[in-house]
C-alpha cells in the first residue's frame, strides 16, 4: 500500500487546476491513497490479448454527423451565463503583460 505524500498530492492538484489548503492536505492524501489502492489491482492482472472496450455496446461505432452548420448563431443567448463579457467577447485577466 502506497501512501501519497503531500508533495505528490499538491502536484496532482496542480495538474487538475485545483488548489488545496495546507490544512486539508492530510485528509486529501489519506483519502486519495485509499482510492488509488482500491484500483491498484488493475495494474497487475494479465490482459494481454483482451481488446479495450471503447463503447459499452460492442459492434456499435460512434456515429458521425455530416460536417455542416445546423445551428444559428445565438451568441447573445449563450453568453447570458457568462461571468464577464464585453462586446460579445469573454473577459479573462490579462495574459500578456
Amino acid at each position: 500500500m502506497h501512501n501519497y505524500t503531500k508533495e505528490e498530492i499538491k502536484n496532482l492538484a496542480n495538474l487538475a487546476k485545483i488548489a488545496i489548503k495546507d490544512s486539508e492536505i492530510d485528509d486529501y492524501a489519506k483519502k486519495i491513497s485509499n482510492i488509488i489502492n482500491l484500483i491498484e489491482k488493475i495494474k497487475t492482472i494479465d490482459l494481454k490479448n483482451i481488446p479495450p472496450m471503447s463503447h459499452p455496446l460492442e459492434n456499435i461505432n460512434q456515429r458521425l454527423r455530416e460536417d455542416k452548420v445546423t445551428e444559428t448563431n445565438q451568441r447573445e443567448l449563450l453568453q447570458k451565463n457568462a461571468p464577464l463579457i464585453e462586446n460579445g467577447l469573454y473577459l479573462v485577466p490579462s495574459i500578456i503583460e
Partner: protein, 481 residues
C-alpha cells in the same frame, strides 16, 4: 390523488374527473408541507400551475402524459429553470435550451414540478454531497435516501411527485430506489437521449426513471426512449410498446442468480427478501439457475478508474470563463481557473477529478486506464456468456438497506461499496430495474432484475408480473400520508 397510479391519473384527467391544475396544486401543496423535512427539491417550478392551466384548456388526447406532474433531477437542462447539478459551480446557471428528454416530456404534456436534489455532479451514493444540503429518507429521517439521485427518490417515496427522472452512472437510480422502496429503471446505454444531461462519466451515464410501479415506469419509458440525432451515443433501434409487453406470462422464463453476488457482505434481511421473490417468480412459472460472473471482483476497481478519468475530462470545462461561477478578483488566468475550481467544487468532486487526472497522466495511462478498459471487456463478456442460457438476472440492488446520515462520509471506499451490485451493469451497458421486495428493520429492501441490451420490456414485464402478486410497491411511509 397522490395514491393513484399514473395510469389512473391519466384516466381521471382525460375524463375530467380532475384537472391538471388541481393535481399540480395538490403536489405543490405537499411539497410546501413536507419538503422542509426531507429537502428533496432544489428548485420548485413557479410556472407549474400556469402550465397546468394551459394543458387543462386545450385538452389534447394525443398527449400521453397530458397534465401529469413530474420531478426532474437537477442534472437535466431546463430552459428558464436553474440547473445546478447540486454544485456551487452551477448555482447560477440557467440553461438556454431543454434537454431532449425534457422536450419529449413537454411534448407529451407533462408538467415539471421542479428540480430535485442530488449528489454534486452525480458523484455519491447517499445524497449527502450536495451544495444544497443532504436529503433525508422518508422512511426514516435519520437515514440517507441513497444517491446520487436521492432527491428524485425521496420526492417520489414521500409522494411529493408521482414520478421522477434520475440518472444512473454506477447505481444512482437503482440504489436510491432500493433505499426508498421504489421501482427504478436504468435503461440500456444509448436507449434514452443524454443531450442536455450534464456529463459525469460519458461511457456510463444513462437517464432513467423513479416510479411506484413497473406499469408507471413503462408509461414514462415510452415517452423518453428513442433515437436522438443530437446525442452521438444514442442508438437507432425500434422502441417497443412497453405497456403492451407488460402482460406476457412468465412461464418458461429462465432467471440466473450470480453466485458472486451472494456473499457474506449481503445483509440477511436482503437475502431473505430475495429468497421470497424467487418463490413468487417460480410460482409464476420461472425457473432459477445459478450463474457465474467470474470477473465481478474487478468491477469496483475498473469503475473507479474509468468514472474518475471521464469525470476529470468532462469537468475540465468548468473554468470560470464561459458559464457557471467565477472566483472574485482573480489575480491572473491561472488564479482564475484554480481558485474558481477550488472554491466551487466539493471535496468528493475534487478527489475524483484528481484521481482521474492521476490515472490519465503521462506514464500511467496504460497501467490504469487501458488496463481498466480491457478488464471492462471481460466484465461485459461475462454477462453475454450468462445471457446465452438465461433471460434475466436476479440480484440484490444494494448490500444493505438505507444507512445512517454521516455513517460513511468519512471513508469514500465504504461509500463506494454501496454500489457493488449496480456498477457491473453500467460497465456492461445493460438495462436493470430495482423493485421493492420487502422490509428489513422497517426499511425497504430492493431487488434488481438485469436484462440483456435493449431488453427493457423484458425486465419491466417480469417486474410487473411480480408486482401483480405482491404489494411491497404499494407501501408508503406513514409520516407522509
Amino acid at each position: 390523488m397522490h395514491r393513484n397510479s399514473i395510469n389512473e391519473l391519466v384516466k381521471l384527467l382525460f375524463t375530467k374527473k380532475i384537472s391538471s391544475s388541481e393535481l399540480v396544486s395538490h403536489y405543490l401543496a405537499r411539497i410546501k408541507k413536507y419538503d422542509s423535512t426531507i429537502n428533496s427539491f432544489i428548485t420548485v417550478n413557479d410556472q407549474a400551475l400556469k402550465q397546468a392551466r394551459e394543458i387543462d384548456q386545450k385538452q389534447d388526447p394525443t398527449k400521453p402524459l397530458a397534465g401529469i406532474p413530474i420531478a426532474i433531477k437537477d442534472i437535466f437542462c431546463t430552459q428558464g429553470i436553474k440547473t445546478t447539478c447540486a454544485s456551487k459551480m452551477l448555482s447560477n446557471f440557467i440553461a438556454p435550451y431543454n434537454a431532449t428528454v425534457i422536450e419529449k416530456l413537454i411534448t407529451a404534456g407533462a408538467i415539471i414540478l421542479g428540480k430535485t436534489n442530488m449528489d454534486e455532479f452525480a458523484m455519491g451514493s447517499s445524497n449527502e454531497n450536495s451544495y444544497y444540503g443532504p436529503v433525508k429518507n422518508p422512511w426514516n429521517l435519520e437515514k440517507v435516501p441513497g444517491g446520487s439521485s436521492g432527491g428524485s427518490a425521496a420526492a417520489v417515496a414521500a409522494n411529493l411527485a408521482p414520478i421522477a427522472l434520475g440518472t444512473d452512472t454506477g447505481g444512482s437510480i437503482r440504489q436510491p430506489a432500493a433505499f426508498c422502496g421504489l421501482t427504478g429503471i436504468k435503461p440500456t446505454y444509448g436507449r434514452v437521449s443524454r443531450f442536455g444531461m450534464v456529463a459525469f462519466a460519458s461511457s456510463l451515464d444513462q437517464c432513467g426513471i423513479f416510479a411506484h410501479s413497473a406499469e408507471d415506469a413503462a408509461l414514462l419509458m415510452q415517452v423518453i426512449a428513442g433515437f436522438d440525432p443530437k446525442d452521438s451515443t444514442s442508438v437507432n433501434t425500434d422502441v417497443p410498446n412497453y405497456t403492451a409487453e407488460l402482460n406476457h406470462p412468465l412461464k418458461g422464463l429462465r432467471i440466473g442468480l450470480p453466485k458472486e453476488y451472494f456473499t457474506a457482505d449481503l445483509e440477511t434481511g436482503i437475502a431473505v427478501a430475495i429468497d421470497e421473490a424467487i418463490g413468487v417468480l417460480e410460482k409464476l412459472g420461472a425457473s432459477i439457475q445459478e450463474i457465474s460472473l467470474p470477473h465481478n471482483d474487478l468491477a469496483l476497481a475498473v469503475y473507479y478508474v474509468i468514472a474518475p478519468a471521464e469525470c476529470s475530462s468532462n469537468l475540465a470545462r468548468y473554468d470560470g470563463v464561459r458559464y457557471g461561477m467565477r472566483c472574485e478578483n482573480p489575480k491572473n488566468l491561472e488564479d482564475l481557473y484554480t481558485r474558481t475550481r477550488s472554491e466551487c467544487f466539493s471535496d468528493e468532486v475534487k478527489r475524483r477529478i484528481m484521481v482521474g487526472t492521476y490515472v490519465l497522466s503521462s506514464g500511467y495511462y496504460d497501467a490504469y486506464y487501458l488496463q481498466a478498459q480491457k478488464a471492462r471487456t471481460l466484465i461485459a463478456r461475462d454477462f453475454q456468456q450468462a445471457f446465452n442460457n438465461i433471460d434475466i438476472i436476479l440480484a440484490p440492488s444494494a448490500p444493505t438497506t438505507a444507512f445512517k446520515l454521516n455513517e460513511k462520509t468519512d471513508n469514500p471506499i465504504n461509500m463506494y461499496l454501496s454500489d457493488i451490485y449496480t456498477i457491473p451493469v453500467n460497465l456492461a451497458g445493460l438495462p436493470a430495474i430495482s423493485l421493492p421486495a420487502g422490509f428489513a428493520d422497517e426499511l425497504p429492501v430492493g431487488i434488481q432484475l438485469i436484462g440483456n441490451h435493449f431488453a427493457e420490456s423484458k425486465i419491466l414485464n417480469v417486474a410487473h408480473q411480480y408486482q401483480k402478486q405482491t404489494d411491497w410497491h404499494l407501501k408508503m411511509p406513514e409520516s407522509f400520508e
